[in-house]
Symmetry: C2
């Protein structure tokens, strides 16, 4: 099913409709951070923690920055290999393919599948860089931002606009010098950020994912955040926002699909393309004519 989604296979749409009603109970965690901070190692250690609580866990590694980075993603999967024989753990990577913007939609599609399959915790791993095209805040309940000690990483987060969205901040490789400085810097930034929409107080935690130090605390923090959302009636609110965002992605995809089909088959469109070619119409006027005159948005059926 994930392969069908990735390949943009037309049969996946009907299947997703059937799955959708069964896909509402998973806790979705987004893990983001610059390359090299240790996201995959941390996630590997988090899987172990969640498995100790007997939770079924699915991991989706998403790379929106490039269609050609299969290498790094393959690396991720290898890093998590020790969970490969655990049938309650599912690890999958997804790379950008085909249309742009489609990855955000494909990720949501995959979440529907995992959730319907009964995975209780779904972790989506993504690099911060793709922020512009891939808004994890509209897909996940909780967002963990991973950094490692070193100058400028906090500033990087602010620049990328991800600071505002973080619920749990993890300073990984905290055996390195400057780890406490990073924690301090992040705490200061959290203090300064505009009043959060909820009363959740973002946490900053230190880990050494490689040997598991601090990872239990991170797992607990995520689960606390989910409880917090449940106890404050934030789950429904979040679901509405997620569904709206999913609806928007779907609409965008479907309308562009319909447009491409129309352009391939419509006589009117072919006529316009000929007029552009002959120079009797410029592309701007042609596009305006087509969208204004030939495409009609009705207000009821």
């Amino acid at each position: 099913m994930i392969r069908l989604i990735e390949d943009n296979d037309p049969t996946s749409f009907e299947k997703l409709k059937l799955l959708y009603p069964h896909a509402s109970n998973a806790f979705i965690i987004g893990i983001t951070g610059s390359p090299g901070v240790g996201k995959s190692t941390l996630i590997d250690a988090l899987i172990t923690q969640f498995r100790e609580l007997d939770k079924k866990v699915a991991i989706l590694a998403v790379d929106p920055s490039s269609p050609f980075s299969g290498g790094a993603i393959l690396g991720d999967r290898i890093r998590m290999q020790r969970h490969a024989t655990d049938e309650k753990v599912f690890i999958r990577s997804m790379a950008s393919r085909g249309q742009k913007g489609g990855l955000s939609r494909a990720t949501k599609d995959a979440v529907v599948v995992f959730s319907a399959m009964g995975y209780e915790i779904i972790i989506i791993e993504t690099v911060g860089a793709g922020q512009a095209e891939f808004d994890i805040a509209n897909i996940a309940h909780s967002i963990g931002i991973v950094t490692s000690p070193g100058a400028g990483d906090g500033i990087q987060a602010v620049k990328a606009g991800i600071l505002e969205t973080g619920d749990i901040f993890i300073v990984n490789k905290s055996d390195k010098l400057d780890a406490d400085a990073s924690v301090h810097q992040l705490n200061m930034m959290i203090e300064m950020r505009k009043s959060s929409k909820t009363n959740w107080k973002a946490q900053v935690l230190k880990t050494i994912a490689q040997n598991g130090t601090g990872v239990k605390e991170v797992a607990d923090a995520f689960l606390s955040h989910f409880d917090f959302m449940k106890n404050n009636n934030l789950i429904d609110q979040k679901r509405n926002a997620m569904e709206k965002s999913y609806f928007n992605s779907l609409l965008k995809d479907l309308i562009l699909e319909k447009l491409f089909l129309y352009m391939k088959n419509s006589e009117a469109c072919k006529k316009i393309e000929k007029e552009i070619q002959s120079g009797s119409m410029d592309p701007l006027s042609a596009a305006e004519f087509l969208v204004n005159k030939l495409i009609v948005f009705k207000n009821n059926e």
Copy 2:
């Protein structure tokens, strides 16, 4: 005008329609390559060459990879500063802003403006990484791919799919070790590539952009390629392809604009959004209904 385009200002569209008929004669060169190979320094030296032929030159530095990389682009502009007082040279950078995919359209818009202003040569600088979202081949007549000596760069080009599109290959920093190996490797790759659509034999040239070595040869190669296109009736063919691609970008942008406006104002859409919220309709079925039933593509006016 460029600022209006960048800001997606609605008045820019009408202005572009007026400019379009005057925008057909420029020679558009795309310069692409990984960060650090010396693209800006090379372009700076190319400006000098083209100015010696008294050509009016416009440079557009485009960064599709991130909306937050103003720094690098600012660096580029500083690097070309010595041409700042030459009124026949115009240097502008453009970063990703607002909608995705929009940058490709914005670049084409900018080319219309530069061409209508009488710039005879328009150089578009872009990093190879954004290939997926930014297809320079549909904007430029000639594509120059810049590399520098060092392992894997050629392979990188193949991976990024840019090898197929290159007309001139430039091995910059050719005073470094391995420059000849890079030239050899590129020549071999060019031999191996699938038969080009034209009979143009791609060239591999060595430069040391920093001191100008070999840059005249690169300028000459680009002008030869333009002559080759003219002499083989390829210019019209290229213009048709460019216009078709521009038309497609415009259509996509306009239809999504119309969709967003519709979603904001339409009662039908609000009703559907409410049904999603109440759970009586899933987002997939809702999007399908809206696109299939409420959006109509007509086949004539």
